[in-house]
């Protein structure tokens, strides 16, 4: 699981008001190469709260990126490469994602997070649908 994915996930356990970002519990991480796509990085940058991402990078042991980042930095190829590496090439293979409110662990095994909720965690929204008879 890449850090980008971690960043876009949210805990949707019932009662949780702020389910992101999910904290990383790293048991095993690997690096996997991904094709570089500057368009994608520039598209993602504004969607990201940099501080939260930096925390994730650090928990994976990557310290090459600054604590703060502004969009002009996207013009720098060097910055983009580091951003690319941290966002897309660092993989969590084994570990867990932790809900920031409840501490509930969503396990990550062989790089695959399991985000399924248990029955008692499901937020039972009531949907009303008009029907005619």
């Amino acid at each position: 699981m890449r850090l980008l994915t971690d960043y876009m996930l949210s805990s949707n356990i019932k009662g949780v008001t702020n389910g992101f970002p999910l904290r990383l519990e790293v048991e095993k991480s690997v690096e996997k190469e991904v094709d570089f796509n500057a368009d994608f990085l520039k598209n993602m940058f504004p969607k990201i709260e940099w501080k939260a991402l930096v925390d994730a990078f650090r928990s994976m042991g990557y310290t090459e990126l600054p604590n703060e980042a502004e969009s002009p930095m996207l013009d720098s190829k060097e910055f983009l490469k580091k951003f690319h590496h941290a966002l897309l090439q660092l993989h969590l293979e084994e570990g867990a994602l932790i809900c920031p409110e409840t501490g509930r662990r969503f396990p990550v095994s062989k790089g695959i997070p399991n985000m399924l909720l248990h029955e008692d965690e499901v937020f039972d929204e009531v949907y009303q649908i008009e029907s005619q008879f």
Partner: protein, 448 residues
């Protein structure tokens, strides 16, 4: 004019069912709402009940009352209390296994006093033309567990080996997305479409762990998740696709919720492509290989020992006073009532224009619920494991002539206009295209 809603609530922890009078529907427990869903918890308008509200699920389970569109809140002459029509087969099963009855006093919800009958009669006003029904959405119904999830888990490698052809319409959609888009594939199966556009970044999810493993083996970014409850933040994706997924959801509310989720997870201006199997199959001979559902569905879920109930669409639940001992009696009454009710009720189905038509086993035109077989060749079925289990449980059968284990997959195939109707209630998305292609109904939405 306020249209009160009367619904039956059954706690999801096998506690005693109770009726919630309409006044409750005006309360909301917004602390339990996710902030990005807060709009769904808006207080009710003065002239109509809001379309959604939040309830605490630790003491509730809601019966699905629109199984076939036959919902009524109609006083029943035999009993003095109003009767609610319910038809959620999956929840019926839970109800029928209740043995220890506990009265739930912990809930904040108003409960009905033992003389609640009079309260109910006063507060319920029936609207003969229309009613609203409340549905539990996120708990997976039994029929999907058994005839979708477990089947795909068992057939995953074989299924994946047959899923390689890229559907041109989907490919066109994906290739038309701007370079650098983040695309979310909800119900990605074997990941056929992940990475189709090399300029986009794809994230897939599916409820089947074996299928997801296959995707991961190809280096795709995937996770195990539920399409009815996507674990993504709101508005993060640039596009979302749902290819041949929604027809595996067994209630209209779940299908609608899944669509809502697809819209939720894309940004403003983001696109959503949905495709589903159509009733109007181009190859009509296919339908003869499918098992139309009412009888089989009901028998499967009620079980051989229960009284035979003809239609999943006309279950009835009497209002139940809150006493400890009456569970068994209620169950009996439930069953008796169902039998009585059914002698003069036809199987019904709801057409997209809202009219109700009768549906019998022979009327294929209105038939939308099916079991569709999957033949898993013996040499692909493992010696021990899922297939052996499925055979033992009766969920799969052997076909020696074809040398295959035959699984049934549950489908709700869509009728013309149904997708459009489902999305019509979504206020933050518009339809930008809809079409019929290769026996599938397809729709493209844009989030506004």
């Amino acid at each position: 004019m306020i249209k009160p809603v009367f619904r039956v609530i059954i706690p999801n922890n096998n506690r005693f069912p109770k009726l919630i009078p309409p006044s409750f529907s005006e309360e909301k427990d917004t602390s339990k709402c996710r902030p990005d869903q807060h709009q769904h918890c808006a207080s009710h308008g003065s002239h109509q009940l809001a379309s959604r509200f939040c309830v605490r699920s630790d003491s509730l389970m809601i019966f699905d009352v629109t199984r076939a569109g036959r919902c009524c809140y109609r006083p029943w002459k035999v009993f003095s209390s109003p009767i609610i029509v319910v038809d959620s087969v999956s929840h019926w099963r839970a109800f029928s296994t209740m043995t220890n009855v506990q009265v739930d006093c912990a809930s904040k919800l108003p409960t009905i006093a033992s003389d609640g009958d009079s309260q109910m009669q006063q507060s319920v006003q029936l609207n003969e033309e229309q009613t609203r029904s409340s549905l539990s959405v996120k708990s997976t119904p039994d029929i999907e567990q058994k005839y979708v999830h477990r089947v795909y888990d068992a057939i995953a490698p074989h299924f994946s080996s047959t899923r390689f052809a890229k559907w041109p319409k989907v490919a066109t959609f994906l290739n038309s997305l701007p370079s650098g888009s983040l695309v979310l594939d909800a119900g990605c199966g074997n990941g056929k479409y992940l990475g189709l556009n090399p300029d986009c970044f794809f994230v897939g999810c599916d409820i089947s762990a074996p299928l997801i493993s296959i995707c991961a083996g190809r280096g795709q970014e995937v996770m195990v998740a539920d399409a009815v409850n996507l674990p993504y933040r709101t508005g993060f994706g640039d596009a979302a696709i749902s290819i041949a997924v929604l027809h595996h959801l067994s209630t209209e509310s779940r299908r609608k919720k899944a669509i809502d989720e697809l819209v939720r997870v894309v940004r403003k201006g983001g696109l959503v492509l949905i495709t589903v199997w159509a009733v109007e199959q181009e190859d009509r001979s296919l339908l003869t290989k499918w098992t139309p559902l009412p009888h089989m569905y009901v028998e499967e879920w009620i079980g051989p020992s229960s009284p035979h109930v003809r239609s999943p669409s006309t279950f009835l639940l009497e209002s139940i006073p809150e006493t400890e001992n009456s569970c068994g009696d209620c169950l009996k009454d439930f069953v008796e009532l169902s039998k009585e009710r059914l002698t003069d009720t036809h199987l019904t189905s709801q057409r997209e224009d809202g009219s109700v038509g009768s549906r019998d086993g022979n009327n294929i035109k209105n038939q939308q619920e099916y079991f569709v077989p999957w033949h898993l060749p013996y040499h692909r079925a493992e010696v021990s494991g899922a297939s052996a289990c499925a055979l033992a449980n009766g969920l799969a059968k052997k076909d020696d002539k074809k040398g295959a284990v035959v699984y049934n997959r549950y489908y709700h195939v869509f009728i013309e206009g149904e997708l459009e109707r489902l999305v019509s209630g979504i206020d933050n998305a518009v339809i930008v295209d809809q079409f019929f292609d290769k026996s599938n109904w397809c729709i493209i939405l844009e989030k506004t």
